[in-house]
């Protein structure tokens, strides 16, 4: 188990969170604006605002910050795959609980990869709102290339 250090140290079986928070209008509007999604249900008045499903990806960073306060590690991560299922809409003002687990860490073509599976629940009733599966490369350069670069 590598929780408590760098994200790059995480390993299969590591549990992240849960972390609770309240979804604010600012978060929904700001995320939608940054991604040019100018839909009224993302950027309108507070009543009726709903979470853009992709915002679940920033909950992964919330879990990283909670579980790995030392930061990313030596290399920048590269996102490889996003897989999100929305079971029910997530409304602004809801108290939410997000948790995750590292389900796989493996090497593919010389690169370390990691899969995290996450769930977002409504704290008030325990209902599952969003499921998310995230796959990342833990470094862009394959391990051998990185070793040679470090040695030169």
């Amino acid at each position: 188990m590598a929780v408590g250090r760098y994200v790059s140290d995480l390993d299969t079986g590591d549990v992240l969170g849960p972390v609770e928070y309240v979804l604010s209008p600012f978060v929904v509007r700001e995320y939608a604006h940054a991604n040019e999604m100018h839909h009224p249900f993302f950027q309108g008045l507070r009543e009726g605002l709903v979470m853009p499903p992709t915002l679940i990806h920033l909950d992964k960073l919330r879990l990283y910050n909670h579980a790995c306060p030392a930061g990313t590690g030596p290399d920048a991560r590269i996102h490889y795959e996003y897989d999100c299922t929305v079971h029910e809409p997530v409304r602004v003002g809801a108290r939410l609980s997000v948790g995750g687990r590292v389900t796989q860490r493996f090497t593919k073509r010389g690169r370390d990869m990691m899969i995290i599976e996450m769930e977002l629940h409504d704290v008030a009733n325990g209902r599952l709102l969003v499921s998310y599966r995230d796959t990342v490369l833990l470094a862009y350069a394959p391990k051998q290339v990185a070793k040679e670069a470090a040695a030169s």
Binding site: V27, E30, P52, T54, I78
Partner: protein, 151 residues
């Protein structure tokens, strides 16, 4: 709110207007992350990333900054919202895979193609779609699938 273009028959293909992946667009996403994390109504920035700092990107083996993959996913999601409205945020699935880096000023077009349409007794129409982003030469950058249930 449902887009008046519905219903969409199988085979329908829809694309966004071309958008250049400018340095600013990359930085908007970079800055959004700590800003949303802080959730205090003010903008926050973060240390250099491969999405906003060329030197840092080169140090990580890249030729220069590249876009965060979530931008292309969000552009696909935005197109789905244009078509299906709030249903995308209510009951849906979206899977995307980043098969090529998107570099500064590369032109990006998000696209969807309806692969099947199913109607349920409850009055829900389920659209399955192929989704992708390509550049202006037709090179695939991001690929995936979506499922949207429209009540």
């Amino acid at each position: 709110m449902t887009n008046p273009r519905l219903p969409l028959p199988t085979g329908t293909e829809i694309r966004t207007a071309p958008r250049p992946m400018t340095r600013e667009r990359m930085r908007w996403y970079v800055d959004a992350q700590p800003t949303i994390g802080a959730d205090d109504g003010r903008i926050h920035t973060q240390p250099p990333t491969i999405h906003d700092d060329d030197a840092y990107a080169r140090k990580n083996g890249l030729p220069g900054i590249i876009a965060d993959g979530m931008i292309s996913t969000n552009w696909i999601q935005g197109l789905l919202c244009d078509l299906f409205g709030e249903a995308v945020a209510s009951r849906s699935r979206l899977r995307t895979k980043y098969i090529a880096p998107i570099y500064e000023d590369q032109i990006v077009i998000a696209a969807v193609r309806v692969t099947s349409v199913a109607h349920t007794m409850a009055g829900v129409t389920s659209y399955a779609l192929d989704v992708w982003c390509e550049d202006d030469a037709g090179k695939m950058l991001t690929v995936g699938e979506a499922l949207v249930h429209v009540a």
